[in-house]
Symmetry: C2
């Protein structure tokens, strides 16, 4: 029998989850829940039903895992504890500083209902966190570095779009190659914010807008750009649509550490992602953890879990025997 999946929220992430379900033949998409009028939402999967999110509780016996595809700022803090009352749920909550608080709220809801709620599943937090954990376990005497990009930062693109005179914008975060190489060499450098990443902005100005003023507002914007070397390119809307419509991302987690009786031996562990679509890759991770959540819950496990709590064997469709024969 297939694992029955529900998706709550049908934006980039929800559509990515729909595609990911299709690649896994032990799963089946049953429902897409939306806050919009269901008749206006058209999905790709024949056999799945679009429902209003108001009616979600009516379907609590029809799906095994609900993937909550909402935003971290306001959606998930409310949705994840709420829906953990009726479903095994997965979210990709990514406000790092607020994870402990989110965990507590979700954990008490999920324990009460006997479901599993996996939070902060994705690549950062998620796969990057896992790699930090494994590398820290192996090399307790060492140092972590995380680089992001080259990739599109949605938050920074939005910040540019809010500037007066800007019609559209796309911002790329780019790791500084010299910094990456210094880390890979095991030199354990101290790196300032400016030394780790640069920011490149492609901006469409409204007709008659003051480009010099826009550029100045961007490069001096506190938190977002002031601490970085930022390059601004003005281009046409056609160029932006043609050359910058993808949502690529990626990055690296590198830990460099020492072993030996006198810490005399160096090692470097690197995990690197190059992604053509940030939401589609995140969705694929969500789906693997949905499988784990379902299996762990059928074993009687409940409460809030993160990627740290999940043995890798739960993520794969293959049996332990097959894994030992083919992947070990």
């Amino acid at each position: 029998m297939s694992i029955r999946i529900g998706i709550l929220g049908y934006g980039n992430l929800g559509r990515g989850v729909e595609c990911a379900v299709r690649q896994n033949d032990d799963m089946e998409l049953k429902y897409v829940f939306t806050r919009r009028d269901p008749s206006t939402v058209s999905i790709l999967t024949s056999g799945a039903t679009v429902c209003s999110s108001n009616d979600i509780s009516d379907h609590k016996d029809d799906i095994d895992v609900l993937i909550i595809c909402g935003g971290s700022a306001t959606d998930l803090p409310e949705m994840t504890p709420k829906y953990a009352a009726d479903f095994n749920v997965i979210d990709s909550f990514d406000t790092h500083a607020k994870i402990p608080e989110h965990f507590e709220r979700v954990d008490s809801a999920a324990k009460k209902s006997g479901h599993i709620a996996m939070i902060s599943v994705g690549w950062d937090p998620g796969m990057f966190s896992l790699n930090r954990a494994y590398a820290n376990a192996i090399l307790p005497n060492g140092r972590d570095y995380t680089f992001w990009g080259k990739g599109v930062s949605q938050g920074h693109s939005d910040a540019i779009r809010r500037i007066d005179g800007v019609q559209d914008a796309r911002q790329y975060t780019i790791p500084v190659e010299a910094a990456v190489e210094a880390v890979r060499s095991g030199k354990n450098p101290e790196l300032s914010t400016r030394e780790k990443h640069t920011r490149e902005c492609f901006v469409v100005a409204k007709e008659g807008a003051d480009k010099a003023k826009i550029e100045h507002e961007i490069v001096t914007m506190p938190n977002y750009f002031a601490d970085y070397d930022t390059t601004v390119h003005f281009i046409s809307q056609e160029e932006l649509d043609r050359d910058h419509k993808g949502i690529p991302h990626g990055g690296m987690v590198i830990r460099s550490g020492v072993t030996g009786w006198n810490d005399e031996t160096k090692h470097v562990i690197e995990y690197k992602l190059s992604l053509e679509s940030n939401p589609e890759f995140t969705s694929s991770i969500l789906i693997a953890y949905a499988r784990a959540a379902y299996r762990m819950n059928t074993e009687g496990i409940s409460g809030c879990k993160t990627v740290f709590d999940v043995a890798p064997a739960y993520l794969l469709k293959m049996s332990g025997e097959e894994m030992r024969a083919h992947l070990l």
Copy 2:
């Protein structure tokens, strides 16, 4: 209270484990068991005792986890099931083809005694296996590539040393950069053995030996060298001792795969290790899994386990709360 560690076998790996225990303040090395005369074995840790491996059962209540540092060919198939009767044990069994058989024998011994026996812990099998598993779970539609090196292959070095007229030798396995780049680009190339790795040999010939004949014997040796582009350098014993005494190794696991409704989006996941000492890095992994074995066994779990069965949280000294706050 510290986790009490015993080491069986005091070669490069055993010494590495001793160093790794020192870096983890929740662990304590209690005993080193050796097949040699204990009075001839001198260890680094004050407070630990060297004992004959014949007396190992006398100490079954004195240690929490026994790290078995033996060879995969003949030692581990016998030792791991045997000692799983009295101890939680960890080994680094690395004969990939024989893992299923080893698992079965160890599993029945460990289940009978109520202990945990973790097998095939290291970096390949081990961390590379984990990365294959995670990447396969995320990108079911894709392809795995494993490259080894640049690093010393002990087996190939030994094979050269067995050739008539060879006094000493060191062999390096080197990934072919063009092949690695093709894989990283997401091209999913078909790669022959020769296209993936080259082999470089540093050989000390005995006085008066026929170097041309030695070189011919190396490059045509079936299984070991015939399928590779192999370079042979004759050097002096002094040069070998000066420039090639380390045991560096490493490599990469790369999975390239596609997502999207029509498999239109490419992603590449890469895990890379650069290690100055193969045995010291392997030892550090063994110690992290010793912590996991101890904790899982105190929770009542027993039987044979691999890295696939261990939730990452068991590997780290820090609490779940600390992990979520600092690593997630």
